[in-house]
Amino acid sequence: MRPVIPYVTAALLFGLGVYGVLRRRNAVLVLMAVELMLNAVNLVLVTADTTVKAALPHSGQVFALFVIVLAAAEIGVGLAIVLQLYRLRASVTVDDVPLAEPAPAVTPAERPEGAVR
């Protein structure tokens, strides 16, 4: 097994994640890009587990499991924040938050098409 192949895959995935976090305006898409970065780190950990002879066996895989748990916690809190922001401001763009309160009684059917993000 050539370890350089998964390592390069992980590096490229991390770069894509950084690009997505900086490029995307929609908060949910930013969270997806963060997931890409976390998965790149997981791939590095699992690959390092096969290449490095550590004192404790399989510690890289144990760390990958821990990172997966952290990602689950992060996505739960992150989505709660995003949904709360949407409830308060009716928008999930990260670079352009409308500071005025949205009209209180707007139902989905009445919402103008332009306000949908």
Partner: protein
């Protein structure tokens, strides 16, 4: 090139291609679906790298739970069905930073490992990993469980605005 190398190359190409589509597509829902492809290919990578338990946990938690949560959030924020034009900022700086970090890390790792070859170790089955987790990594494991509890409570408090508002009102009256 052995069979494992070919598999790793193919799965890595699928993962990177699907990842590029996640950050480039103009359909919100399709970004979540491409994320499934990317995470599934990574689970295949883990299987080839003998990390069996991590691969199945990846499928269960990432593909099963995290992506479903993300798709829920896409739906709850009333995402449009068709393509949207306002998903991206002007992106030369993002391309510079992202491409720079990705390609820089790739060059660094290629320089470190060249075309070297390692033998795959014994498979990381649930039995071996469980032994490690509960023998050497018990404290991080317990700390993580506390963190999960804190994240759960935090998500509940955040998504219920009446909790914070009532306490603020009482504080104002006193």
């Amino acid at each position: 090139m052995t069979g494992a190398d070919v598999l790793l190359l193919a799965l890595g190409a699928v993962a990177v291609g699907a990842g590029a589509l996640v950050v480039a597509t103009r359909h919100l829902v399709r970004a979540g679906l491409w994320l499934v492809v990317c995470l599934g290919a990574l689970a295949g990578d883990y299987l080839v790298l003998t990390a069996e338990l991590v691969a199945w946990v990846q499928v269960l938690i990432y593909v099963g739970a995290v992506v479903v949560l993300l798709l829920f959030a896409v739906m709850l924020t009333r995402a449009p069905i068709g393509p949207s034009d306002d998903l991206d900022r002007p992106g030369w700086a993002a391309a510079l930073v992202g491409g720079g970090s990705g390609l820089g890390l790739a060059v660094l790792l290629i320089d470190a490992f060249r075309w070297s070859r390692v033998d795959l170790p014994a498979a990381g089955t649930a039995e071996r990993l469980g032994e490690q987790v509960f023998r050497s990594w018990v404290l991080p494991f317990e700390v993580l469980s506390v963190l999960l509890l804190a994240a759960l409570v935090g998500a509940i408090v955040l998504s219920r605005p009446d909790i914070g508002r009532r306490s603020a009102d009482e504080g104002g009256r006193q």
